[in-house]
């Protein structure tokens, strides 16, 4: 300050954990209604555990993702988010395995739905964090969106089909 000249360090932009943490409230407010909607949909479709899983999948992208950004594997935000989504769904998956009563097919379909739909949601929420960061290029985001948004749609679509098939089998008593 004494020299009234910016040092090279002053001109550099970094993104330490403090800077990432202050963005969390903005992310939470921005996804407040979708989180509530996901919780309500989960509750109606599968009860409290599904409501909780749906809300956790979004909160992982808004709350945990900014904090864990440098330590998640891959450079693509979608892939980082997907990994995080799988990690936060693991407790739900273990709970499913512990409480499974039906056949192996039921359990496999439930797990496929759980580990495909919700990580894809976390991946999408994480992808939206690109705009909050000071090191992302427009060309890179465009490339990532073109590559991974269709993939997220496919994964969540396959997961939803698995969930529907599982529910049909359950209701009809087959397998």
């Amino acid at each position: 300050m004494k020299t009234r000249k910016a040092t090279p360090d002053m001109r550099r932009v970094t993104f330490p954990i403090r800077d990432r943490a202050v963005l969390i409230p903005v992310e939470l407010v921005g996804t407040f209604l979708p989180t509530l909607g996901a919780g309500l949909a989960g509750w109606l479709l599968g009860g409290w555990w599904l409501a909780f899983a749906a809300m956790v999948s979004i909160l992982a992208g808004t709350l945990l993702f900014p904090l864990l950004l440098p330590w998640l594997p891959f450079r693509e935000f979608s892939l980082k988010g997907f990994v995080l989504g799988v990690l936060v769904m693991l407790p739900f998956a273990f709970w499913k395995i512990q409480t499974a009563s039906g056949s192996g097919v039921h359990l496999a379909l439930s797990l496929a739905a759980l580990l495909l739909v919700f990580p894809a949601v976390t991946a999408f929420v994480s992808l939206n964090f690109t705009g909050s960061t000071p090191f992302i290029s427009k060309s890179g985001v465009r490339l990532e969106m073109n590559r991974f948004i269709p993939l997220m749609a496919w994964l969540s679509g396959i997961g939803l089909v698995a969930a529907v098939v599982q529910r049909i089998l359950e209701l009809t008593g087959v397998a």
């Binding site: 992808l127 290029s137 427009k138 490339l143 990532e144």
Partner: protein, 103 residues
Amino acid sequence: MMETLTYLDVNSLVYDPDACINCGMCSMVCPHGAFEDGESAAILAHKERCMECGACMVNCPGHAIYVDSGVGCAAAMINAALRGQKEATCGGDCGCGGSSCCG
């Protein structure tokens, strides 16, 4: 701890060393140190760090640098695509896309 975060090695930065007058502005203004000072011309040492902010291009008197600068934000791009706008902008609630209310 200083964390050096790098995104995908994809950007539109083009540098022509022949047009460089070695003024040192690019290495000074780049927020990620993509350019470094050289003997007779600036050196594009870390192209992968470029975030397409456009500071180097704006500050280059020799017009030796081109970059397609813009908002690297997936949410803004999705909003722009949904609204049929060509260019993504921040704070798109007003839907102005850089005119009127955005001054």
